[in-house]
């Protein structure tokens, strides 16, 4: 090739073209979506996640949970997201607008977590599951997160949040006089799990069915 202006221009053009088409056009198309209320005076949705649950999202990010768990519900008829009970409506762009980091995920070695807070509302269940997934989910290949828990000597009375270890796992029980309690990070992570819900409607969420 001897036509260098064409080569340089072409190299520049192709990337500018895709960036404009995919990203700039999206910013223009839906970059200014705002929370919206279904009826006048209603609570605008979605709402920002705050406090302990938001801290738990940082734990979720730093443990790399996204590499096995997605957070998106696909439309009915495309895959089995609905039949598996992962949500009763498809997730839409507006659901994610207040998240500083979007964790859609591309792998489902484990189930989708978009609505896990509705499906598993028990904090105890989540703590047991995180400590050793085999307690609640025999046959799971999820890694145990025991390091988010610590063993301590029982004080005057057992802690209310001490982990309930099933009797079928005697080797996981602490020594007599000791108990296993969640660290702050485990509490945050479980708060995040419980906050994952899709229990509101948006104008476009029904249309999209």
């Amino acid at each position: 090739m001897k036509n260098l202006p064409l080569l340089f221009f072409g190299i520049f053009f192709v990337l500018a073209f895709s960036w404009t088409g995919l990203i700039l056009s999206s910013v223009i198309q839906y970059g200014d979506l705002k929370p919206i209320a279904m009826e006048e005076g209603g609570v605008p949705q979605p709402q920002a996640r705050v406090g302990v649950a938001q801290q738990g999202k940082l734990v979720y990010i730093s443990q790399g949970c996204i590499y096995c768990h997605s957070q998106q519900v696909r439309r009915k008829g495309f895959g089995a997201d609905w039949e598996r009970g992962w949500g009763n409506r498809q997730s839409v762009p507006r659901d994610y607008i207040l998240q500083e980091r979007v964790l859609l995920g591309t792998s489902r070695t484990g189930p989708d977590l978009m609505t896990i807070g509705e499906r598993q509302p028990s904090a105890d269940w989540h703590h047991q599951h995180l400590y050793n997934p085999q307690f609640t989910s025999p046959g799971s290949i999820m890694p145990p997160f025991r390091y988010l828990y610590r063993t301590q000597k029982i004080g005057d009375a057992p802690s209310p949040n001490a982990l309930k270890i099933p009797d079928t796992f005697p080797e996981e029980k602490p020594e007599p006089g000791y108990e296993i309690v969640p660290t702050e990070r485990a509490e945050q992570l479980v708060a995040y799990m419980l906050s994952l819900k899709l229990n509101y409607e948006l104008p476009e969420s029904r249309n999209a069915e």
């Binding site: 090739m1 072409g10 960036w19 730093s62 790399g64 890694p143």
Partner: protein, 495 residues
């Protein structure tokens, strides 16, 4: 002539005044940067392999090293990906790609110190990044897992390297610009841009909602499409005719292949979001672009095949060609799979499964990494002026890599397909207390296990490569005076 065009024409020197520069002079002047990049790359390859083995075994044996937080699955698989991508693959690209560029420009090397600085900063950046991932700075953004703080350091090194490539091109010997140079120029320009836009729109000034995901996959797919693929193809286009001693089959096919790749690959990344919460027209555009990728792939495959056809023996004998031809064939196959996987009816099965992981290794390992191995086998004797010490170690490297990656691809594609069919059948649970019940994970585990076995073969391959390279670098002087190149099969009598 307009001022705009004359600006570009200045890049093309019109008068030939300098004496010709011999390739051996180029090789000699590139010695230090090439060695820096190659040694770093091979060390990262070993580190990345270690992380890979840990991650792979953890997938079927979750109790392995379970109480050691830095090696929890999410972190160690990210450390693997980033060590391989930014450590091994990028250093290999810098070594092989820049060296080919320098040779094709046939000019004295200027500003080699730019490369040394960039290389040192690059590897410091990646080291900090990997440590960051393991200690909890993981970002959970695919292909950009390193803590955003290292971004500026890496971007700086990228820009230095890109600038060096363009300067090299500016001072080249006048005349025809070869196809490898188009690809390398494109890649050197594209990648810093992609990287800077991605870290800006995801970390520094996060885009709203799922636009982040679009940016993420525009970047993630283009790491392969506009960085590794052009560099890999540039290496094949350079080495295939070089070793065989015959020209590329068709100039026009190279032209068509280059421009169609540049145009379509860019848009294809959206297929990672099929079914996801983004505008449907974008997904359709991504699918169309993915299918159109058949054009550059077929064109390039014909061009490579017609250039090599009838030289089976030479291909078998030359370490370089064995790896390169394996890489070129994998490129064709992986790309066909990629186009097919983008179809909605196929994607509904393969998305979210190990099939995608298999496809990623098909592209990055079977095509790109094998091609870079071939490039290093050709390049190092010329840089070091000595031959590869052991043909046996090259054979071990080739066969363990070829069989290992072949086995991994079968395991992940078949296992992933079964996983996808199971995921779409709501009657099959992920796991079950009843060990005889049909479950998704139960059906997947044997395939994950065979992937770990394939990983052991790849580890052997990489160790053989490392040992051979180390012996070449520091081995006895006798090696230097070995006569003729190291070949893998006996010369035919009378040839």
């Amino acid at each position: 002539m307009s001022p705009f065009l004359s600006f570009f024409n200045k890049i093309d020197p019109q008068v030939e005044t300098k004496p010709k520069v011999a390739l051996s002079e180029v090789d000699h002047e590139m010695r230090l940067p090439v060695l820096l990049f190659t040694i770093s790359g091979i060390l990262w390859l070993l580190i990345g392999t270690f992380f890979a083995i840990v991650a792979s075994f953890k997938m079927h044996s979750p109790e392995l090293l379970a109480n050691f937080e830095p090696l929890t699955f999410g972190r160690v698989r990210s450390a693997h990906l980033n060590a391989m991508t930014y450590g091994w693959a990028n250093n290999a690209v810098f070594a092989v790609g820049l060296w080919i560029m320098a040779r094709l420009c046939k000019a004295h090397i200027r500003y080699a110190s730019m490369l040394i600085i960039a290389g040192v900063f690059w590897n410091i950046g990646v080291t900090i990044g990997i440590i960051g991932i393991l200690t909890g700075g993981l970002t959970s953004v695919e292909w950009l897992e390193m803590p955003p703080q290292v971004g500026p350091l890496l971007a700086f090194s990228y820009v230095l390297i890109g600038m060096w490539g363009i300067l090299m091109f500016r001072f080249r010997e006048r005349g025809h610009v070869y196809v490898s140079q188009w690809y390398i120029l494109g890649a050197l320009f594209w990648f810093p841009w992609l990287y800077v836009v991605a870290i800006t729109m995801i970390f520094l000034e996060p885009a709203r909602g799922t636009i982040q995901a679009l940016t993420n996959w525009w970047f993630g797919h283009n790491v392969l499409g506009l960085w590794y693929t052009p560099m890999g193809l540039a290496a094949i286009y350079y080495l295939l005719p070089k070793v065989l001693g015959r020209p590329i089959y068709s100039y026009y096919l190279s032209l068509l292949g280059f421009w169609s790749l540049a145009l379509f690959y860019n848009w294809a990344g959206v297929h990672h979001l099929i079914g996801g919460p983004i505008p449907v027209w974008l997904i359709s555009a991504g699918i169309v672009a993915s299918v159109m990728m058949v054009i550059p792939v077929v064109v390039t495959a014909i061009n490579h095949h017609m250039s090599a056809v009838g030289n089976a023996r030479a291909v078998w004998q030359s370490p370089t060609l064995r790896f390169i031809v394996f890489g070129a064939m994998s490129y064709t196959l992986a790309s066909f799979f990629g186009s097919w996987m983008a179809l909605r009816s196929v994607n509904v099965v393969t998305h979210f499964t190990q099939f995608t992981i298999g496809h990623a290794h098909h592209g990055v390992y079977a095509f790109f990494t094998m091609t870079m191995f071939g490039g290093i086998y050709f390049m190092m004797p010329r840089i070091l002026e000595r031959e590869w010490p052991s043909a046996m170690l090259i054979k071990v490297h080739f066969w363990c890599a070829a069989i290992g990656i072949g086995m991994m691809l079968v395991a992940l594609h078949v296992g992933g397909w079964i996983q996808g069919m199971d995921l779409n059948n709501p009657d099959i649970p992920f796991f079950s207390p009843d060990s005889s019940a049909r479950t998704i994970l139960g059906a997947l585990k044997p395939w994950l296990f065979s992937r770990s076995i394939s990983g052991i073969l790849l580890t052997i391959a990489h160790i053989a490569f490392f040992v051979n390279f180390a012996l070449m670098l520091i081995g006895p002087r006798a090696v230097r005076y070995k006569e003729g190149p190291t070949l893998l099969a006996a010369e035919r009598k009378g040839a």
